[in-house]
Structures are given as C-alpha cells and as structure tokens.
C-alpha cells in the first residue's frame, strides 16, 4: 500500500550524553573565568583556571590559580586561591597558598592565611593574619587596666 503506516515506530530519542566522572588529566583548564560588573554569582564558585571578579560573588570561591578582585567588586565568601590580588572588597576568610597583594583601594574583613603578603598604603584590613613557619610560642597577653589603675595619675 502506498499510504501504509510505518509499523516500526521509532523510539523517542533519549540520547543525553553521559557526564564523565573520571578526571581528564590531558585537559588543562587554563581558561580565565571572568565575572562581569553587573553580574551576581551565588554558590560554590570554583575554577581550575584564573578568576577575575568585577561583580559580586557570595558563597565560596576556590581556584588553584590566581584570583583578581577588581576595584568596585565585592566578595562575601570564604576564599581559597593559589595567589590573589585584591583591589575591591572581601568579607570572609582567605586562605592563599602563595602570595597575597592588597592594593590601596582594597578592603578586607576576615582572617587571612598566606605565604607572602604585600599591602599598599591605603588598604584596609580587619582580621587575623597568619603565615606558615611563624608561630607565637606563648599567647600574647594584653594587659587590661582596671578602672582605678586607669584613673590613677601617671606621674604621682
């Protein structure tokens, strides 16, 4: 018959490709990730390549390479990176493997841990600074003055 229906119906395609779980060592993710100025990123932001932040990131940031936070950018997250240059604002703890550079426009609120630190004058930092290899033998005691001591005349 001319208008005979095709009896063998084609099964609906469900050809979703499998995501390979195995890591592919031959591929080097050297691609730079750029977060533009009017873009908000929320969640665990991770990349194997360099990251340039010009917008807002909240959650956590991880890269094994270099992180650049440009002027006007804002990170509200804990940061782990190979090295970093901060010119914007970071609220959160930072753990940097190599060097950290805070430029004059930077504002950091949080503890920082790195090997090498460079701070330009004008940079603001509030938090604990830790470097590997340097550890305080005894916890430094800060003298607390009593009200009566404080009120006593110095030259008496």
């Amino acid at each position: 018959m001319i208008f005979q229906r095709n009896s063998s119906k084609v099964a609906p395609e469900n050809n979703e490709p499998e995501v390979l779980d195995e890591s592919r060592p031959d591929i080097h993710d050297e691609v730079e990730t750029v977060v533009g100025p009017s873009v908000n990123v929320e969640g665990d932001f991770a990349s194997e390549g360099n990251i340039v932040v010009k917008g807002t990131v909240s959650g956590s940031v991880f890269t094994s390479k270099h992180l650049t936070v440009e002027m006007g950018a804002k990170i509200i997250a804990n940061v782990r990176a190979g090295s970093a240059t901060i010119a914007g604002e970071v609220k959160g703890n930072m753990k940097i493997k190599e060097s950290l550079e805070l430029t004059s426009t930077s504002k950091v609120i949080g503890d920082i841990d790195m090997k090498d630190l460079r701070i330009e004058s004008g940079a603001t930092l509030y938090g604990k600074v830790t470097m590997p290899g340097v550890e305080a033998e005894k916890p430094i005691k800060t003298k607390t003055f009593k009200k009566s001591e404080e009120a006593a005349p110095l030259f008496g």
Partner: protein, 254 residues
C-alpha cells in the same frame, strides 16, 4: 569509501571552478567518492545512516560553518569518520580544526589525521558550532554549583568550535574574540541595562568555562543552535566528550 555532502550554495557559478579543482585533486589522491547535495528540507541523519549501511566509512562535509553545523548537529552519533572541505566565506570553524579554506583542504583530508571532538548537547539535540540565547530575563546554574543572575536582561552565547567575535558597543573599533577550547564549553554572558527611553546597552561580559549548565527563563526565550531557532523555557546544556571522529589539520587549535 568516501561520501561527499555538498551544500546547496555550491551550485552558484562563482564556486564552480573551486569545486571542480577540488574534485580533480581528490581524484588524484584516489579519495573521490559519491556526491550528495543538500536541499532545504534534507534530513542529513537519514542520508548519512543510509550511506553507512551501503559501506561509507568517511563522510566529508563540503561548505561553510552553517553546513558543518547543519550536518553534525543531526548526525553526531553516526558511526563514521567525518571530514571537512571548507569553501567560500564564513569559515571560522575550519581555522579551529586546522583545515585551510579551498583546494589545500584536500591534502589535509588525504592525510587522515583523526581526532575525537567534543560536541555540545542541548535539550535532546547536538550542536557543534555555537548556541545563542537572545536577551531575556534568565537565571543560569553552572555545574549544579553556582547560580548567575543579572539585574535586567542578559544574553548567553555558548561556544563549542566556532569562535565568538564581539564589540563593546557600536563605536568600539577593537574586535574582541572568545577562542573556544576543546574539553570545555565556554559561556559568554552579556547583561543589558536600560539606556534612554527604549534602548538597551550591553554591559561588560562575563566568561565561564563549564561542562553542564541549566538556563531557566521567567518567560519563553529564543535559542539559536547551529542556525536552528526554537523557543524554550528551560535549557540544559552539556558537553558530550569525544563524540565525533574528525579528520583535522596539523595546525588545529586544540
């Protein structure tokens, strides 16, 4: 056995001399074969599957970026080796594959240097060159880990093999390029902000390399993948590793 699929535009008079000289060179190399011509409503998948059943081992695409996308998006799952002979203008993918435009491409084809290429996958179909989501209110989730949003509309371009050329605005003389890399798809996000009464202005772009991405829109948005336009409300884009076996040149960019 080689099967050559010619694009319809190659019937134009100005392309006839180059096509003839290519056919001569292919005959000299001993790799000439059956020639099929694409029409507007040709289903490439059926044609290629029929030819494979008849014993074809290599399918050669003859044309430009559009031809390459049209054929491979439908037949990426075909069990054969693909070749590419770029002819005429609009051939940016050929450069990425290291294949020269014109008669010299026949030499690359005859050398049969094969590589497995990664292909993009989008809502049950493949794309090889580029995917573009027209500006709309979107939310993009990358690798189920982080979410990207913008204050207003944004445009998303995903590059697989075709590089993306862009300018900051109409006055910008410098042309910027996003070079695709194998092993990852690259998403290029450009938010738009209102400028004046009706106009929109493109903001500085963001670039994210990724393997899986879900784009969700508040309203249906237009998606163009390999020249095919559709309306979607949710798009899942993935990278299918080593899906297409392709004959490439020595100067390939991956």
């Amino acid at each position: 056995m080689y099967v050559y699929i010619y694009d319809n535009f190659l019937r134009q008079k100005n392309f006839l001399p180059i096509v003839h000289s290519m056919e001569v060179v292919l005959t000299d190399y001993g790799i000439a074969g059956k020639i099929l011509r694409l029409q507007n409503y040709t289903d490439c998948k059926t044609i290629i599957e029929d030819e494979i059943k008849r014993g074809a081992k290599t399918i050669v695409i003859v044309g430009n970026d559009a031809t390459f996308g049209q054929i491979l998006s439908r037949s990426a799952t075909a069990n054969c080796t693909f070749g590419f002979l770029p002819v005429g203008p609009n051939n940016t993918i050929a450069e990425v594959l290291g294949i020269p435009v014109g008669v010299e491409a026949c030499t690359v084809l005859s050398r049969r240097r094969k590589e497995f290429l990664d292909v993009g996958w989008m809502n049950n179909r493949y794309f090889v060159s580029q995917l573009k989501v027209m500006p709309s209110n979107l939310e993009v989730v990358y690798d189920e880990r982080f979410k990207v949003t913008a204050t207003d509309k944004m445009e998303v371009i995903v590059c697989n093999l075709q590089p993306f050329f862009w300018k900051r605005d109409k006055k910008d003389k410098e042309q910027h390029v996003v070079h695709p890399q194998d092993g990852k798809l690259e998403a290029f996000i450009r938010p738009l902000t209102k400028s004046g009464w009706w106009g929109y202005k493109y903001e500085e772009p963001s670039i994210f390399p990724f393997e899986e991405m879900i784009i969700t829109g508040r309203e249906p948005f237009t998606v163009e993948a390999d020249g095919k336009i559709s309306k979607e409300i949710k798009v899942k884009i993935k990278l299918a590793h080593s899906k297409v076996e392709m004959i490439v040149g020595r100067d390939r960019k991956f």
